[in-house]
Amino acid sequence: MRRKLSSILTLVVATTVLAGCTTEALSGKSDDASQRISVSLAEGVHTNQIRAMLPEFETATGIKVDLNVLGLDQLSTQYQVKLNTQSSDLDVIYFRPLQETRLFADNGWLADLTTKVSEDAEWNWEDFTPSSIAAATAESKVYGVPVMTEREIIFYNKEILADKGIDVPTTMDELKAAAEALHDPQNNQFGISMRGTANSAVPPFSGFLYSFGGDWMDENRNATIDTPEAIAAFDYYGSLLRNYGPRGVASVDGAQARSIFMNGQAAIFIGEDSAAGLIEDPAESQVAGKVGYAEFPSGPHGSLPWDITPWAVGVSAFSTKTEAAWTYVKWATSPEVLNASMKDSTSPSPRQSSWENPEITEGFNPELVTIIRSYADRAVGYDRPLVIEVGMVRDIVGAPIITAINAGDVVAAAAKANKDFQDYLDTES
């Protein structure tokens, strides 16, 4: 028995060694592996467009693309797992500039694209909006090319407002009055729907913070979330949601806030304009065709919504196929793809030329186009603090929002958050 076993093992060892040689020899001869790249991105409107147009790219360039489409959290986790191990599995990576550019750049995870972007005048880097370029840039180096933009606006249910004879709010006071008048929880209808979880509420809250005259920090990187302006904004946002928001609002995240409006349960929804495509999709939304759009309301310091770049595309610093990866990035951010994305999939383009072309903007509701154009001269380019460790800082600065929703001591919560945030800022570098 023993003899037989060792004979088998001898055979196994010999076969394995031979097989190893063969595989090596084959792989050396195989066709150019650099022509197969992986592209990681999250589900969304732009992704749908990429999926549809990818065969054109593959035929034109001969580069095979493996699309790796994940949920937002899974994508972020995968980047951390693979980039922490410096894996060469990832070639093209879509990332969230305001959340990740600084962290990824600081970690050395993204390839520097500064010279690449200015090489081709026809592709035209200058066409991208300055704020979108700024979002994908860190320490004067370009790490990604913007693929989408997004602004904070009011969505309202025209039928509900008309029923009660309420005008579209233009100021914070009017918004509060409208939400109060339209709030009817007995009949399962709420005045307003917005994000309420600490971390997820930071972006929508930002517009309120700026419009009340506050900001996350000053130009010397001193935390400023305990100022009277910031406290007024925390109070306003929290009490609006506590009094006129959906039930259990401190547990309502982005998708839930939007779906409550899409179910026809909320009269007003304040969120990102890129949601318009989904909200107007009759297959997904019960309010499709009944939605009105309005500019972000004015606070004591005017209407200061944000205009941000939620997605950019870059190349992993550990990719061994950087040329093929860059070819993809250039194609995915070409006027052709971004215009098609905007026209067919309602993904707002970061290229200025897209907005000047009526053929491209016709897919958008005209009200929305007017609002977006009006934001150009006043919108703020960030919807969260511009720091390296955004994930942790969002929890810190979002805590007073929850205190405000829970009707707690906002002044004390803001003071604590300001101290924690300052401690972070002091040790960031």
């Binding site: 023993r2 003899r3 076993l5 060792s6 004979s7 093992l9 001898t10 060892v13 959290d73 972020s76 986790t77 951390q80 980039l83 922490n84 191990t85 410096q86 962290l103 600081d106 970690n107 050395g108 995870w109 399962n188 709420f190 309420g196 979880t197 600490a198 971390n199 959906p246 039930r247 259990g248 609002v249 401190a250 547990s251 309502v252 995240d253 839930q256 779906s259 409550i260 179910n263 349960q265 390296i388 460790e389 994930g391 942790m392 929890d395 979002g398 929850i402 929703i405 829970n406």
Partner: protein
């Protein structure tokens, strides 16, 4: 060739266990050593950046953290004890009632298996949609019946309890199946003897049937305790990062995940995991000792 064969002959037992040993070393021991090492550093943002040795600073910071760490320890213990208590009691009762053959037994057993085969993340998402206070079907029914509408997962004081019930919904059947397997091994003679002696149903179950199934009951307790202790999926799927806005369902597992994947504080997260592993080993050891004492 002959030399190779002799060499193999001599070392055959080592060669045969080598793959398994290597597997254990690479996949279990290496991550633990790596994590323990990381827990003594200030590694953050990326594990490949240079980090400095900080001794037990991460552990000290955690052990003095009454905001996130200690409440997470408390929730982990509460979740485990409460879920296990419910699951063991219900599981044993179900097993006892399914012991004797009855009509439709096969259907009942299959129905019991259904929650078990569902992926915990899917279970979490399903219950989240059912219990959503504005759009969920549970509160819609309560509303139509004119009953009070609890906020279930959205109410910070109720969320962990709701999750314990969801865990019990999913895992009680497993306890029932393991205990049932133990019950079917019991010879009928002992039961008949108890009947002749005039023991009532309760007395017979408590003193005759259950002691004989104690091995399988303790096995179920061990497996479920380990699982409940490290529950992650349903908590994260229903409440998201940080265990909710007020960290209301943040257990040690969720805390470690948040510290690593949301905060990129790998040193601190590793310290949580080392403490978590230590606690887990304590729990398992005590159950194993209990099992030995009972079966002796």
């Amino acid at each position: 060739m002959h030399a190779l064969r002799t060499w193999l002959d001599r070392r055959i037992k080592w060669i045969l266990i080598a793959p398994a040993t290597l597997f254990v070393l690479v996949l279990i021991a290496y991550p633990i050593v790596f994590t323990a090492n990381l827990s003594l550093t200030d590694a953050k943002r990326s594990t490949t950046r240079p980090s400095s040795f900080v001794g037990f600073e991460n552990f000290w910071n955690l052990l003095t953290d009454t905001h996130r760490f200690w409440p997470a320890v408390g929730r982990t213990a509460f979740f485990t004890v409460a879920a296990i208590t419910i699951e063991m009691i219900l599981g044993i009762l179900i097993a006892l009632s399914l012991r004797k053959a009855f009509r439709g037994q096969a259907i009942v057993r299959v129905a019991m298996l259904l929650p078990l085969v569902a992926t915990p993340v899917a279970v979490g998402v399903m219950w989240m949609l059912i219990l959503e206070p504005n759009t969920g079907v549970a509160n819609m029914i309560l509303r139509n019946l004119g009953l009070p509408e609890p906020l279930w997962l959205a109410d910070p004081s109720l969320a962990l309890n709701t999750l314990i019930l969801i865990d019990a919904w999913q895992w009680t059947p497993m306890v029932a199946l393991i205990v049932l397997a133990g019950l079917t091994q019991i010879p009928s003679e002992t039961e008949e003897a108890a009947d002749i002696d005039g023991a009532g149903l309760f007395k017979k179950t408590w003193s005759v049937i259950l002691p004989q199934a104690s091995g399988s009951i303790l096995a179920a307790l061990l497996i479920r305790s380990i699982d409940a202790f490290k529950t992650f999926d349903i908590l994260y799927a229903t409440k998201g990062p940080g265990g909710g806005s007020n960290h209301e369902v943040e257990t040690l597992n969720i805390l470690a995940y948040s510290l690593s994947f949301d905060y990129q504080q790998y040193g601190r997260a590793s310290a949580v995991l080392v403490l978590f592993l230590t606690l887990l080993i304590c729990v398992v050891t005590s159950i194993v000792l209990m099992r030995r004492a009972v079966t002796r």
